[in-house]
């Protein structure tokens, strides 16, 4: 096992055990080992001895912020829907946070989904997570029976093959262009911060799509979502998707059809992406969760780029900077939504 991960795992276990033993937190949210190579399972430790099951490796692909609103409610003392909240502070929850997850926690704080004073955040600088689909592709789709993770490589084994793979080659697409690997808010630092990254062409995949003609772009989009089975793993893995009733589940009015008609599937993906505009941190959970290998992360990446270019902000970088689409400023750019009388939308607007 890689030394960095071993050290981080030990630190996480020690800190979680301490927090649970002292009673400072009622539950600790981390990962435990999965039952298959290259998998982990989000896991809630509730007793000090559970802390021994926590692990850290390159396959921690689910965004833990996703679980926070429900977990925080779950640790509150039970009460009826009309009962007032109990007096005194509510129990706390411990959680691991990398750069993107910590930014999602900031967004959740800004959107009143979680309370900062009820969280104990263990910050971890992320070296990037590995895409297991990419690893499988490297061995021609053969079944992988064991993976040994080294510091900068993976040794992958199956029936009749053993191969060493460079870690950097199989990082998830989002991790490859990540410029904020270190947590923006935390209470304790676990391991060492990761050196700041300069990424050449941070939006290169989006640039490529923008360079297409609109017909090419539409056919790319249609092809990308053609295998969607509407299981909503992307939505349910997303820390931004906490609506009590999602628009796809509304029946009065019903915004979108229920089976796999391409029009309905398109509407689902387009609306899901737009709901994430100015809030998405490109954590990549949606893509990691998708059983069909759809690159829906590129839809939100485009919006991340637009928001950065139009408003000059990135989601969740600073709890004191309000989210761009929930604030109004008189000098907000509006070329892309307002057409001057008699004229067309400006050049910038049509981009």
């Amino acid at each position: 096992m890689s030394t960095t991960n071993t050290v981080i795992t030990e630190d996480i276990r020690a800190k979680a055990k301490e927090l649970l033993s002292s009673g400072e937190v009622k539950a600790f949210l981390g990962f435990t080992d999965g039952t298959l190579p290259m998998t982990t399972r989000p896991f809630v430790a509730r007793r000090p001895e559970d802390a021994e099951r926590l692990v850290w490796n390159s396959f921690c692909v689910m965004n833990l912020a996703n679980y926070l609103p429900e977990l925080l409610k779950g640790v509150e003392p039970p009460r009826g829907p009309k009962d007032p909240p109990p007096e005194g502070p509510l129990p706390k929850v411990g959680v691991l946070a990398t750069g993107c997850w910590s930014r999602n926690i900031v967004v959740q704080i800004q959107e009143n989904q979680v309370q900062r004073d009820r969280l104990v955040i263990l910050g971890i600088g992320s070296r990037g997570m590995v895409d297991r689909k990419k690893v499988m592709a490297q061995v021609g789709g053969k079944e992988i029976l064991a993976v040994e993770e080294g510091e900068d490589s993976l040794v992958v084994e199956g029936r009749g093959f053993k191969k060493e793979i460079v870690r950097g080659d199989v990082l998830r697409d989002n991790c490859q262009v990540c410029v904020h690997p270190n947590p923006v808010i935390y209470d304790y630092q676990i391991g060492q911060p990761v050196p700041a990254r300069e990424i050449e062409g941070r939006f290169r995949q989006v640039d490529e799509i923008e360079a297409m003609s609109s017909e090419e772009r539409w056919s790319w989009f249609q092809n990308e979502i053609s295998s969607c089975i509407r299981c909503y793993a992307c939505r349910n893995a997303c820390p931004l998707c906490y609506c009590p009733t999602c628009f796809v589940d509304d029946s009065r009015p019903q915004w979108v059809g229920k089976s796999v008609d391409p029009v309905d599937t398109s509407i689902f993906h387009i609306l899901r992406a737009y709901h994430c505009a100015g809030r998405c941190t490109d954590c990549g959970s949606c893509e990691s969760a998708c059983p069909m290998g759809i690159h829906m992360r590129l839809f939100t990446k485009k919006l991340e780029k637009d928001v950065l270019e139009l408003y000059g902000t990135e989601a969740g970088m600073d709890p004191d900077v309000p989210l761009p689409l929930t604030t109004y400023k008189s000098d907000d750019p509006q070329d892309f939504l307002v057409t001057e009388a008699g004229g067309q939308a400006s050049e910038q607007g049509r981009k």
């Binding site: 029976l145 029936r159 297409m212 909503y232 690159h295």
Partner: protein
């Protein structure tokens, strides 16, 4: 039982002949590479077999089960229109019965068995039965075991032929096709026949099957049989403490249910688009809050833990209580595809441990 001997060219001849009168589906590579975007995906899934391609049989199970051929997403139950000039506007009419015949080639024993299990609740469903009547299954018995396979634990077999019309077993240099049903015999005739296997070849077939079976029993992570589950008290299982821990990890998506060969729950809705009414039956999932939401607003499974529990209780308690067998074929798709690695075998071990 009749057993025929074929080589690959014979099989290809069969496939080509069947394709003249039927749609032939097989597990095929589904790769897609966007021209410029460095984003690719690749997996094996069901598609029409054409252009001399051969089923991909050495990459484990296809991504999706074969239930879409029997329980299509969606199934149109009735049609009508809202048009003023249509004298039958708003009168629901059954769609014309689909008659196109199909052959699924390369179906593994677990997937073939799923059709038989789904047939229990859908025995009197005309849509399912009509799809079943027009879909022949040419199965291929297993030679390898994936790390997620557990068919034997739930009553199946890696060399089982349940649900198949023809069962093909690959020996090193040749294929033996066992003809199971009359429809299988019809397919053999249409395909152009093949010589009967010799006694020596049949004994090789038996030997090979025994070998595969021993591979499974020696590697199975689960006890050989889950039959003990059937005698357990329903409420003891229902109230077991481990469900809440499972719910801690689950994100309540529909990946496991949609990719499960034996998850058949559905919802029905009327879709009205441009003057056309379709009453459709489409996949639902017990993981979704809407699954049990009542018109009053009450939801008897309003919490995640209740929804997670239902999938397993249905498969391993409610279904066997009603129909006999478990509603699971041990294909392992839910284990492989679950975004948070919920492993049904662990749940089974936990259930078996309940006193």
């Amino acid at each position: 039982m009749k057993a025929l001997r074929l080589d690959q060219a014979d099989l290809e001849r069969w496939f080509a002949n069947w394709a003249k009168t039927r749609e032939v589906y097989a597990p095929l590579e589904q790769s897609s590479t966007s021209q410029s975007i460095s984003a690719t995906r690749s997996y094996v899934d069901w598609a029409i077999l054409r252009d001399g391609r051969f089923p991909v049989l050495d990459r484990g199970l296809p991504k999706s089960p074969i239930k879409k051929f029997f329980l299509p997403q969606p199934e149109v139950l009735f049609r009508s229109s809202t048009k003023k000039d249509d004298p039958d506007a708003f009168v629901l009419k059954e769609p014309e019965e689909q008659k196109d015949r199909r052959v699924l080639v390369g179906v593994r024993p677990c997937d073939a068995r799923s059709v038989e299990l789904n047939n229990l609740p859908f025995e009197k469903d005309p849509y399912f039965q009509s799809n079943r009547a027009r879909t022949a299954i040419v199965g291929f018995t297993c030679r390898d075991r994936c790390q997620t396979c557990f068919c034997e634990a739930v009553g199946g077999s890696p060399v089982g032929t349940e649900g198949m019309d023809i069962a093909v077993t690959q020996l090193d240099d040749l294929y033996i096709a066992e003809v199971i049903t009359d429809r299988g015999e019809e397919l053999v005739q249409e395909g152009g026949g093949a010589p009967e296997a010799s006694e020596e070849e049949i004994s090789r077939l038996k030997e090979s099957k025994e070998q595969v079976k021993s591979l499974f029993s020696s590697m199975s992570d689960l006890d050989h049989s889950l039959e003990a589950m059937k005698a357990k008290d329903l409420f003891a299982l229902y109230n077991a403490p481990f469900w809440s821990q499972l719910a801690d990890s689950c994100i309540n998506c529909g990946t496991c249910t949609f990719l499960c060969p034996t998850c058949y729950c559905f919802d029905i809705q009327d879709e009205v688009v441009k003057g056309t009414i379709r009453r459709i039956r489409y996949y639902d999932s017990c993981m979704f809050p809407l699954f049990t939401l009542q018109a009053s607003g009450n939801n008897p499974r309003g919490q995640k833990v209740q929804r997670v529990r239902n999938r397993f209780m249905h498969k391993f308690k409610y279904f066997p209580d009603r129909f006999g067998p478990f509603s699971c074929v041990g294909c392992g798709r839910c284990i492989r595809e679950c975004p948070v690695n919920i492993d049904i075998r662990e749940v089974l071990r936990d259930l078996l441990a309940v006193e």
